[in-house]
């Protein structure tokens, strides 16, 4: 048996909530598609932190596995998303999400 925890679970959850909110602010108020992507990464990481903290509290490693999968999905999402971004930039010369409104009619 190792390590008793001195920082309570609550603090980790609050930190995760704050980081997630900062990510939400980034997605809602920035217009550069790149920054929006980074903010999404921020939110994914906040959730990862929450999972790891719960995993520690329960002494159960399933949370680590879920974080592993989240990382794999994030890697896939980033590679495809950035490829889309490059394609958009090549065609429309912009990374501003407000300028991409072909479906608006």
């Amino acid at each position: 048996m190792i390590g008793l925890q001195t920082v309570p679970l609550l603090w980790y959850q609050i930190l995760a909530a704050v980081l997630f909110t900062i990510g939400v602010v980034g997605v809602l108020v920035r217009r550069s598609a790149l920054i929006i992507f980074m903010s999404i990464e921020l939110m994914l990481n906040a959730v990862n932190l929450s999972l790891i903290a719960f995993s520690r509290q329960h002494g159960d490693m399933d949370g680590h596995i879920i974080v592993f999968f989240v990382m794999a999905v994030a890697a896939a999402e980033v590679s495809v998303g950035l490829a889309i971004l490059v394609a958009i930039f090549r065609n429309r010369e912009t990374a501003n999400v407000d300028d991409v409104h072909l479906l608006k009619g």
């Binding site: 609050i14 900062i22 903290a53 501003n96």
Partner: protein, 170 residues
């Protein structure tokens, strides 16, 4: 006594860098600040006895994903024609809804039911908690099918990225 100190340090750096990611003008600086967030989160993972996940965080996130980001930032070479914040009323709405989400999340975490089901004191851990061996054992037994599906997902992502970035389709 060291743990609260390290937690305060890492969380301070993480929140500061996260604010920098969202509000900095220069995209390259944003990407580098995001690396700061990811590294300090890796430190927090180590505090939580998740050594292997912390190593993955540094290698996969701070290494691979951020290099991809930096490449694209430099490839696109966007010259500040994107306004820093979204113009007009949408900005106010954005901050308002983000505040709403913060209140909701903190409400969930702080309410008496928020910690229900979790042990009030962190349980003692087995010696190999968070080690690659323990994680690998779980990954190749209980979680074998999700693991294999992940490999297919990554393959699809690779093919998708190559197809999308090819010039002749667009």
């Amino acid at each position: 006594m060291l743990e609260p100190l390290l937690f305060a340090m890492f969380s301070g750096v993480a929140i500061g860098c996260a604010l920098g990611v969202v509000f900095h003008k220069n995209s390259v600086h944003c990407a580098l600040l995001l690396v700061g967030v990811l590294l300090s989160l890796a430190g927090i993972f180590i505090l939580l006895h998740a050594q292997f996940v912390a190593a993955l965080q540094v290698i996969v996130y701070a290494g691979a994903i951020m290099v991809l980001f930096l490449f694209v930032v430099m490839l696109l070479n966007v010259k500040g024609e994107v306004p820093l914040l979204t113009p007009g009323a949408a900005k106010g709405f954005g901050f308002f809804f983000a505040l709403l989400i913060l209140v909701e999340l903190l409400w969930t975490v702080l309410s008496p039911g928020g910690q229900e089901g979790a042990p009030s004191e962190a349980v003692g851990l087995p010696r190999d908690f968070g080690s690659p061996a323990a994680l690998g054992r779980l990954l190749y037994t209980t979680w074998l099918y999700p693991f294999e599906i992940t490999s297919i997902l990554l393959l699809v992502a690779v093919v998708g990225a190559v197809v999308l970035a090819k010039r002749k389709f667009f």
